[in-house]
Symmetry: none
DNA sequence: CATGAATGAGCCTTCATTCAT
DNA sequence: AATGAATGAAGGCTCATTCAT
């Protein structure tokens, strides 16, 4: 990658981060291009040099977050931990990540309304990939005798719900910092799959 | 209440229902007055005969849902059931209700952005009232030896998260009807507080 | 005129009065049918039983005011007064009338924008008739040696301007009642034509 | 001021002029943003790049006119003329200015209905400042033995009324150009204060 | 006669997008 | 690469008007 390309890539990434932060707070329709630009001390027009449009920008921000999340899990999977601790770590990371990046997992109540067919396919695929990371962890936990779950996909969805919802009430109870908070929450979530 | 007043009240309620349904799907900014009107085969303008504006309409729809939800819980509390079964029933009702009314519990990612100070106060008060219904159930369950929870408000928030998220993935796995689905899900959610 | 007709006529007149009062304050576009109706404790719809529409209502209110004004002058002309005192009395009446009825002489900055060709013709005709009342008074005053004016129509327009503008500043200085106020003002206006 | 700033200022001024011209003809409620835009061969939306909204635009146009008017008087005051001629010149300028810029002195029958408290304060302050210019001229004229007036503020209001009303009837009698017209009118107005 | 209700046209305003510089 | 400026398509809201009851 040439210097210029790297510079461009970096700028793109900055815009994506800014977009994510604003989108998490205001939602798709509530966020204007100007919001995103102002957040970066840029002008509206400049963004169009890097992205085709609002929809494209939001799409790529979703991809970024999903990829990052998947990678987060993969990293933990590599570690030398009991399956019990692996899931726990994954959950903590997820929560820390969503609180820190205001990840906007909640963002897309109905992505179908916003994205094109093609984009939707990609997003759903990544979402499923992320979900299946959890499924395999749960499965492994069952085999290891740690977890007890009849219907893995249901249990996993409950798990994700409890995790994603956290962004809704964190600030309210917010005396703890993000890390301490995640730690105080994870045990209750783990109960969903524990024997 | 006179005949006319009842007619007006009925119409208002129809509009609120329509609004809720559309809002749950598209969110506040994504929903247009026309969306809501079309859903009822009315014209935009007519809605303004019944509500002062979009914000007013959405506010009242939130109030309606919160009051209904609180009443749902109160009804169950009256019943002659073990505390264990009471919480279970409450959760099932909540899920059935949110799926059926597309309740839009998810609606307000950031209500502060939309409502006036005064409205916000009212909404927060009702949310807390609803939350405290769960708290008292959990507390009672602890005393009865059914549940084991250190921090009740955290446990309750996890519980609500798992429940509210359900609207996000129900349709995806949707081979079961709402009732059967709620039943298949509740046991995993109950684990969050169970001993 | 039958009883019913008289009742209708009375109602019409009430509406016209209400309309005038609101129109004087808010202007044509700033006044809504509802404003006028509320002022009379009626409903919007009822007005349409008596008038074809907003434009018709406003037109008739203008006619009413112009006719009344012309009649006011004619009455004074009949009286046994010096020409000097006649004009003075006419001016005082005009001012009292415009303050009392909020006559809305100022209403029509550009009547051509609002009325139909036909209506406009009628209004202009009455305006001219009213103006010519003043012209004849001035002329008479000149012949009697009281007034000194080269160009009567210009002098009369200046006169009318000074008089009509009074509604703009009356309330501001308003320690006097309408009558006392008119009296305190008329001498300055008379100077415009006096020798 | 940079080149760009000057360009923006110029555009703003063009819009203000356009606004004034339309507002004078149709009044606040009768004037649409589109009217103002079309007058300049712009589109509605563009105006919002320069002004916050209709109300802001109208407010600034009022400020502009009032400031210009005050400056007009100040300039004349500096001149080496008898007090008699000063007032005459001021009146002529006022009339020429209102006819030329369609100044819309008539615009605000009830400014309180349109502007915010803060804006209203500013406008009233400038109006009073303008009025007091006339008061001091009249006072000076009295002392110099040219004028004879008991109540200065009443005389001044009559004066302003006669002057402002001119925009209502100029076009009707319009065989003279603006300058000649103002000259033909000023003597009658001067009579209001003359000895 | 009066009114509650509905309608649709029109207006203010926002915002994604484009483009000349 | 960036920006100031312009545009046009919505969307929220108002209001004159109509009409069934």
């Amino acid at each position: 990658m040439s210097l210029m390309e790297r510079k461009t890539a970096k700028k793109k990434d900055e815009i994506l981060k800014s977009a994510l932060s604003v989108l998490a707070e205001k939602g798709y329709h509530g966020t204007t291009m100007e919001d995103i630009a102002n957040h970066l001390l840029m002008t509206k027009g400049s963004i169009y040099y890097y992205f085709k449009g609002k929809q494209d920008l939001v799409f790529q921000s979703q991809i970024k977050i999903l990829n990052q999340s998947i990678q987060n899990v993969e990293e933990v999977k590599e570690k030398d931990l009991t399956i019990d601790e692996k899931l726990k770590t994954v959950i903590i990371r997820h929560i820390e990540y969503s609180l820190h990046e205001k990840s906007g997992f909640l963002l897309m109540v109905n992505p179908a309304e916003i994205f094109s067919e093609e984009q939707l396919t990609k997003i759903i695929q990544l979402r499923e990939q992320y979900a299946s990371c959890y499924d395999s962890l749960i499965e492994e936990g069952i085999e290891a005798g740690y977890f007890a779950v009849d219907n893995i996909s249901i249990a996993r969805n409950i798990l994700l719900g409890a995790m994603n919802w956290v962004t809704q009430w964190y600030s309210a109870d917010g005396e703890l910092d993000e890390q301490a908070f995640a730690a105080s929450v994870v045990d209750y979530i783990m109960r969903i799959v524990k024997k």
